[in-house]
């Protein structure tokens, strides 16, 4: 190995953690429809599943803070995505669970209006989904 290639290799090693941390799916997060958002995360046609639990209030008085708790009991779940179908940008978050993490997350999201919240679980190269309607009294995206 020449000195130059060694240096290039070392530079690559140093640069890698940064680029990994900065990975952000601009296409999917920039999508303005739920269908485009699902396409962007490679989940165009997820199969309905009863093994995804979505715990959220039926009515959210304040759309700026809507608590949602999600867990997947689909065997081998490696990732969970949250799509709020009627938000201006429907894709809210995508969590990747590696060895050592349970497919569970609780988070607060903003909702512009009453909408179905779709959760997609990724397991073994397949996609599964469940939805839950949350009614919003006051939207939480503007201000």
């Amino acid at each position: 190995m020449t000195r130059r290639s060694l240096l290039a290799f070392l530079a690559l090693l140093l640069a890698k953690p940064l680029s990994v941390l900065a990975a952000w799916n601009e296409q999917a997060f920039g999508a303005k429809t739920a269908a485009d958002a699902l396409k962007g995360i490679d989940a165009s046609a997820p199969a309905p599943s009863k093994d995804i639990a979505i715990d959220a209030p039926q009515i959210a008085e304040n759309g700026a803070v809507v608590p949602i708790e999600i867990s997947s009991s689909v065997p081998g779940t490696t990732a969970i995505a949250v799509v709020i179908e009627k938000n201006p940008f429907p894709l809210a978050a995508r969590f990747e669970f590696k060895e050592g993490a349970l497919p569970f997350v609780k988070l607060n999201v903003k909702m512009a209006e009453t909408s179905d919240v779709r959760v997609v679980a990724f397991a073994g190269g397949k996609q599964f989904t469940a939805t839950r309607e949350i009614k919003v009294t006051i939207g939480g995206c503007g201000g």
Binding site: L91, A101, L102, L107
Partner: protein, 98 residues
């Protein structure tokens, strides 16, 4: 703008529950007179090993709070959570499992 973080990690019945709070405006493209400013990446590490990688959007509420669950875990295990936003600002917090 990007303020302090708070985190609590507790071991219970074979899992570790991690609850983390980030101080961040999380402004959206819909807000008037405020630049778009939101966290994009969140990484959770258990004893130095990455266990959760999240990409999030402006739809996450202001001052985000997340709960995660990790397998195993004993008192003293190190949990680290870091975030990076669309302006390149970042923050990290580390705590020991209680």
């Amino acid at each position: 703008m990007a303020g302090p973080m708070k985190m609590r990690a507790t071991a219970q019945g074979g899992t570790t529950e991690v609850r983390v709070l980030m101080t961040h405006p999380m402004t959206t493209a819909q807000m008037k007179d405020q630049p778009l400013h939101f966290i994009q990446n969140v990484v959770v590490k258990q004893n130095g090993k990455t266990v959760i990688e999240a990409e999030i959007s402006q739809a996450v509420s202001r001052n985000p709070v997340f709960s995660f669950r990790l397998k195993g875990g004993a008192k003293g295990d190190k949990i680290e959570v870091s975030w990076l936003d669309n302006k390149g600002e970042s923050n990290t917090i580390e705590t020991a499992v209680a």
